[in-house]
């Protein structure tokens, strides 16, 4: 029933935009709060619809997927969680999808963060992964299958120092167990002992710093998931081969979930995002049409051509 109601209201909203266009051209633009209400409904109502729209997989996501599937079981993956709750709607779904994939394919995760709340977001991703029935089939022990080294301040200097040795920057994990006592970190000295780095970045420090130091200096393979805002800045690294693949924003997260065949939040959010974008585009078009029409009216006030 919610589904039907949502579709009816969205259809009415779509039709009412014609009235908004008429009013705007008439020189009586709608109040900004009405625009906020449109956006709010355009985002809220699709969340009630149980519809997953078709989603083509872009080459950026495909490249990352092709690299990840080549990692043999037992590979050590360094996961850098460089984001906080404000960026979680975009980055958390891709992080959860990756963690689930890692556990199902026996990849060993070494988690750390350059943002204070990053390791906590990692814990939330781990908890969600453990609720997956296919992951829960086999127990995943902390210290053996994964470890959370926590947050370290220092931004790019942390990455630089990790190139010499992880232990110096992370002498203990979040349980305060010393580095040398953690089984998964045996024989893990620096980046040369890591098979892949997966970075979830929301800004500074983030993907750019990992490329500058982790890739260019220490020759690691790096995949990145970034917010949509960061994606435009990071694309040059993708085309030059410094990144093996890129997940950009929520659409990247939804594509990643699809290609990994993981059910996640991004796939349910993407419809809301589409409607939200469509509403923004509609208002941009209305504003521009009104601008040109009103501009012409001002030039010819008496309607003379």
């Amino acid at each position: 029933m919610l589904n039907t109601l949502a579709i009816i209201i969205l259809s009415l909203m779509g039709a009412s935009l014609i009235y908004v266009l008429y009013r705007t051209i008439d020189g009586r633009p709608v109040e900004r709060r009405i625009v906020f209400a449109y956006i709010g409904l355009a985002v809220m109502l699709p969340l009630m619809m149980k519809v997953t729209p078709p989603l083509p997989i872009t080459t950026d996501v495909q490249k990352l997927y092709e690299h990840i599937v080549k990692l043999p079981p037992g590979s050590k993956v360094l996961c850098a969680f460089d984001f906080d709750p404000p960026s979680a709607p975009e980055l958390q779904p891709m992080a959860v999808a990756f963690v689930k994939y890692a556990f199902k394919h026996d990849l060993k995760l070494i988690i750390m963060g350059l943002w204070p709340q990053g390791p906590q977001q990692a814990n939330m991703a781990l908890q969600e992964a453990f609720r997956d029935s296919l992951v829960a089939v086999k127990p995943h022990e902390e210290g053996i299958d994964w470890v959370n080294l926590g947050f370290q301040s220092g931004n790019e200097f942390v990455i630089l120092s990790m190139g010499d040795g992880f232990k110096r920057m992370f002498p203990r994990d979040t349980r305060l167990i010393p580095y040398d006592s953690i089984p998964i970190l045996k024989n893990v000295v620096n980046f040369s002992n890591i098979d892949f780095i997966m970075n979830f970045g929301a800004g500074y420090p983030g993907t750019r710093e990992w490329v500058q130091i982790g890739v260019d200096r220490y020759k690691s393979d790096l995949g990145a998931g970034t917010t949509a805002v960061q994606a435009t800045e990071v694309y040059p690294y993708l085309s030059s081969g410094q990144l093996v693949g890129l997940l950009g924003g929520m659409s990247g997260a939804a594509e990643f979930e699809k290609v990994l065949a993981e059910k996640g939040k991004a796939s349910t959010f993407i419809l809301a995002q589409m409607f939200g974008h469509a509403t923004v585009m509609a208002f941009v078009i209305i504003g521009n049409v009104a601008f040109f029409v009103l501009g012409r009216k001002k030039k010819n006030p008496e309607g003379n051509n």
Binding site: G40, P89, P171, R208, T232
Partner: protein
């Protein structure tokens, strides 16, 4: 306890959203709570992770003490000299260290990653994709468009010559490329903001009101 947290989160979210109507006391209170909690939270995180976990456990308690941490601690303490005006000049030394070290690192990293590797990549792309037999026409066109964008963009940011004549025309093409880039970036950023709103709506409708999920 979790339910209480959800209710508090929902009320604070709606309090911030009330700003969309107009500035009001509820928004002001919510803003003040956010500022206070975030300041307190980061104070604790930085104290626990940097001072306790890194310095105290690594340089004081540990059997193999990392003596380099004492250097960092001294520099950090020198910053506190700002509290007393007569000694505030001392704080410039640790600041100079931070600025200098970062400048030295950036000189290398930005030069290599953002400069040389990108130029090499641009040269490579044009060379490899010029051959129509090996690439689609769209790829070849795209490569040359990027090249024109790089050249005219660099011309736009040339400050030693006024933008007149042919130089000015090239700079104008450059600014058009920049505006197209900004438009694409704007679109991506709208997507990002929309994602944040969706996240909050999911919390309100799913975790709080339980209408969805």
């Amino acid at each position: 306890m979790e339910l209480l947290g959800i209710w508090i989160g929902a009320i604070l979210t709606l309090g911030i959203f009330s700003f969309l109507y107009k500035d009001n006391p509820v928004y002001k209170v919510t803003e003040a709570i956010f500022i206070g909690v975030s300041a307190g939270y980061y104070a604790i995180v930085y104290f626990f992770d940097s001072i306790y976990k890194k310095f105290w456990l690594g340089a004081v308690v540990a059997a193999e003490k990392d003596l380099m941490l004492y250097g960092g601690a001294v520099l950090g303490l020198l910053f506190l000299s700002r509290l007393y005006s007569k000694t505030s000049w001392i704080a410039r030394w640790p600041l100079a260290f931070i600025v200098g070290a970062t400048a030295g690192l950036y000189m290398m990293t930005y030069f290599v990653t953002n400069g040389m590797n990108q130029v090499a990549s641009t040269i490579s792309d044009v060379a490899q994709k010029s051959d129509l037999a090996g690439s689609s026409w769209a790829e070849v066109l795209g490569t040359y468009v990027i090249l024109v964008g790089v050249v005219t963009g660099l011309i736009y940011f040339f400050f030693s010559k006024e933008h007149k004549g042919a130089f000015g025309a090239a700079a104008k093409v450059g600014i058009w490329f920049l505006m197209v880039t900004f438009g694409a970036s704007f679109g991506y950023t709208v997507m990002s903001r929309m994602s944040l709103l969706i996240g909050r709506m999911d919390f309100l409708l799913g975790d709080w009101l339980r209408i969805i999920n």
